[in-house]
Symmetry: C2
Subunit: 207 residues, 2 copies
């Protein structure tokens, strides 16, 4: 069996897509899939998928197809989502509400654990099962809970200050919904959700 | 001046990031920037940025830096976002609300034009300036308005059916918030907003 050590970042970035497709197939009681089927699901080439998954050794054997459950478990373990990561959400506006109630996190390795806002009118209010907490207490509460993952859903002007506090609190992975780039120290990861980026990419190909 | 024809898809995908960084710099009254400064903003390498932007000819000259406004205008034109694209939003739940009120679209080539839902309890209600319309009328209304861009913010189980209707209505670019892959005919683009994908990618590097 081939070892799967230090794969290129670009392959790591595709693993969640493979996992999502496999979990979707599993939900349809599909037992075995092919690179061709995954390619159709994902809009990638079958050759690319075979090449990426060949790094998993025995799962890549030609002609037998991929066992959906086993490959799914393997990818979960590789991505460290065979456990559940608690997430702190900062910002209880429209985006924070949507995140806190987003059903798509379940069974995918994450759950929202707490939500913060700096607006006295919001603090103490409820979003589903969560009581909105005062962001003035954020550093202490997140550090105490040992949370490593956070989502920033505050206005652009406050995003960097919030990121700085999260880093101080021990957060090491930030998903930023504010449409600005954040500066963080080495060892802290940031990814972005900015719907305009994929929209602009598609606009290039329109007309 | 070098022509900028048919750049690889992966470069097209980075142009919105450059444009966002340039617009952020312009908002700070910055006139000239460097590949180094952009690299720090974006977490890419300066060499990568120089290579990508060298495709724009005169803007890439060594030593002079990039003129923020001029390069920003050039990128907008290339990406076809020097105009404003109307967007139809399907689904008036939490995500639909967040999209309809998202301030980050302004000045970036898009505006929400209409929002639909199939829930009689929601149809006729208001989200900011938008009256929620009945999705039963969606195909006719979108076709009539000539809208080419849509966002799907409906539950997973309905996303494919909605996509089929959007294609029938003439939509050619879909941003899908439902965590499933969509099948669309050639000539129709789909991009995905699934926060779990970047979260799982970061989880790989945690610990």
């Amino acid at each position: 069996m081939t070892d799967f050590k230090n794969p290129p970042d670009v392959i790591v970035g595709r693993l969640p897509l493979y996992l999502r497709a496999l979990q979707q197939l599993a939900a349809q009681n599909c037992q075995v899939t092919s690179s061709q089927e995954l390619a159709e699901h994902l809009g990638l080439s079958a050759a690319q998928i075979r090449k990426d998954l060949s790094q998993f050794g025995e799962f890549g054997k030609q002609g037998t197809g991929y066992p959906v459950q086993a490959l799914s478990h393997r990818l979960k373990a590789i991505l460290h989502v065979d456990r559940v990561w608690d997430i702190a959400v900062i910002g209880a506006g429209d985006v924070g509400h949507a995140i806190a109630r987003y059903p798509g996190l379940a069974n995918r390795g994450f759950r929202v654990a707490m939500i913060f806002d700096n607006d006295p009118a919001k603090v103490g209010g409820q979003i589903g099962p969560y009581t909105i907490q005062d962001s003035a207490q954020m550093i202490a509460i997140i550090r105490q809970a040992g949370i490593r993952v956070a989502m920033i859903a505050v206005p652009e002007a406050h995003a960097q200050a919030v990121a700085d506090q999260l880093v101080e609190a021990g957060v090491r992975a930030i998903l930023n919904y504010a449409p600005i780039s954040l500066n963080v120290p080495p060892g802290v990861q940031v990814q972005y959700i900015d719907p305009v980026v994929p929209l602009q990419k598609m606009a290039y190909y329109l007309e």
